[in-house]
């Protein structure tokens, strides 16, 4: 019959790698027997079950006695971890964007897209994106775990370090003046062109020494103009406030979130109305290529509006995170 010591050593050996097992178990057995002998002498009686329990309690659980014998094990060790972090921060956003573009570029349902279709497809594209990101993360972890296993002492040769290469301290509240002014400039151009020169947007052809003009935007597009104007006016207003204040604040962030949500709404409306907002019939009708070109443009517009929705959604998430960080840091 096996004794408590045999059971203890069996549990110890189960927790040891094969190459250490035999030697370590023999060593621990010898130490336990020494301890048992010492106690037996001290108490003046032969070892029994109760004494074994006391001695084994002194030695600690099999897991705790084995721990110091084992080298520290990592799935991805501290030497590889910074490289792993770098790869993750580059690859995962690229995967997310590619998955989103791939989904909408391969969108094959007939246009116009209905509101229900749109919501279902946005949810599906986000699901695909998450799945691609999780799968990518898993694959990168597996590659790094293999590297860790094959090259446990892997380290990148340290370059000569220069303090001037240090990254600037992150300032989430700092505004980017150049970006804001560029946005104001383009919003103003959009506002002026789509308000006063909408009838000038179309295709110009120089045929037989004469310029001909064919409008491409339809009256359905005109319904969007007040909303686009409102978007541009709000953008100009927000950016002007930011330039005057010099930094992001709680109120301006809320304002920006509302603006981005509005942007999502407009992009979604465009997405459901793609075939109605423009026409190529007048311009290419005679050439017979209008339908092919139109389906190509439709596909490009689907991707463009889907990406616009994603970008605005990411901006909202970034704003919310900065708001939470601002609250935490007081």
């Amino acid at each position: 019959m096996d004794t408590l010591i045999d059971r203890y050593l069996n549990a110890v050996s189960e927790n040891l790698p094969a190459r250490l097992r035999k030697d370590t178990v023999t060593e621990i057995r010898s130490l336990i027997q020494d301890a048992l002998d010492d106690r037996s002498k001290e108490e003046g009686r032969s070892p029994d079950n109760e004494m074994m329990v006391e001695v084994l309690k002194q030695f600690g659980s099999p897991q705790s006695i084995v721990a110091p014998y084992l080298p520290e094990k990592y799935l991805i060790g501290p030497r590889l971890f910074p490289t792993f972090n770098l790869v993750i921060s580059i690859v995962l956003p690229i995967l997310a964007v590619l998955s989103m573009i791939g989904f909408w570029a391969g969108y094959s349902q007939p246009v116009p897209i209905t509101g229900v279709d749109l919501v279902a497809n946005i949810a599906k594209s986000i699901g695909n994106m998450l799945s691609a990101v999780i799968q990518g993360f898993g694959n990168i972890v597996i590659i790094f775990a293999i590297l860790q296993w094959v090259l446990p002492d892997f380290r990148i040769k340290p370059k000569e370090w220069d303090p001037r290469s240090l990254k600037a301290v992150r300032q989430p509240d700092k505004i980017k003046r150049g970006e804001l002014i560029t946005e104001i400039f383009f919003s103003l151009i959009g506002l002026i062109v789509f308000t006063f020169y909408i009838d000038k947007i179309g295709i110009y052809n120089y045929v037989n020494g004469q310029w001909t003009f064919t409008p491409i935007l339809t009256s359905a597009f005109n319904n969007f103009i007040p909303w686009l104007d409102l978007l541009w006016v709000i953008t100009i207003l927000l950016n002007t406030i930011l330039l005057r204040r010099g930094a992001w604040e709680y109120g301006t962030r809320l304002f920006a979130i509302a603006l981005y949500a509005f942007g999502i709404g407009i992009s979604a409306s465009f997405l459901t109305s793609i075939p109605y907002i423009y026409t190529l019939q007048g311009a290419f009708g005679q050439l017979g290529g209008a339908s092919i070109l139109q389906s190509l443009i439709n596909q490009v517009l689907i991707v463009a509006f889907a990406v616009a929705i994603l970008v605005n959604a990411l901006k909202i998430i970034k704003m919310l995170l900065n708001m939470v960080r601002g609250r935490i840091n007081g």
Binding site: D23, T24, T26, E27, I28, S30, L31, Q33, A35, F59, G60, S64, I65, P68, Y69
Partner: protein, 72 residues
């Protein structure tokens, strides 16, 4: 022997440490059977003997430095 010299060290700490020194090549070991029980004996390897003066010097330097810091 260690406790006689005033160094009380737990077995669970001592033996894994000896193993690590052996892995680093500073100790060698062999099994001997005494009182019908196998026992492992560790002894300084050649590399251990070569490194011992340097390690003793490092240890003494640390002790002296700590002493100066505690006195000041």
């Amino acid at each position: 022997l260690l406790s006689e010299k005033g160094l009380e060290i737990d077995q669970g700490t001592l033996y894994p440490l000896l193993r690590r020194l052996e892995t680093q090549g500073l100790l060698g070991s062999n099994w001997r059977v005494e009182d019908a029980r196998p026992r492992r004996y560790y002894k300084l390897s050649q590399a251990g003997q070569d490194n011992l003066p340097r390690l003793i010097h490092e240890w003494k330097t640390i002790v002296q430095m700590m002493q100066r810091m505690l006195e000041s």
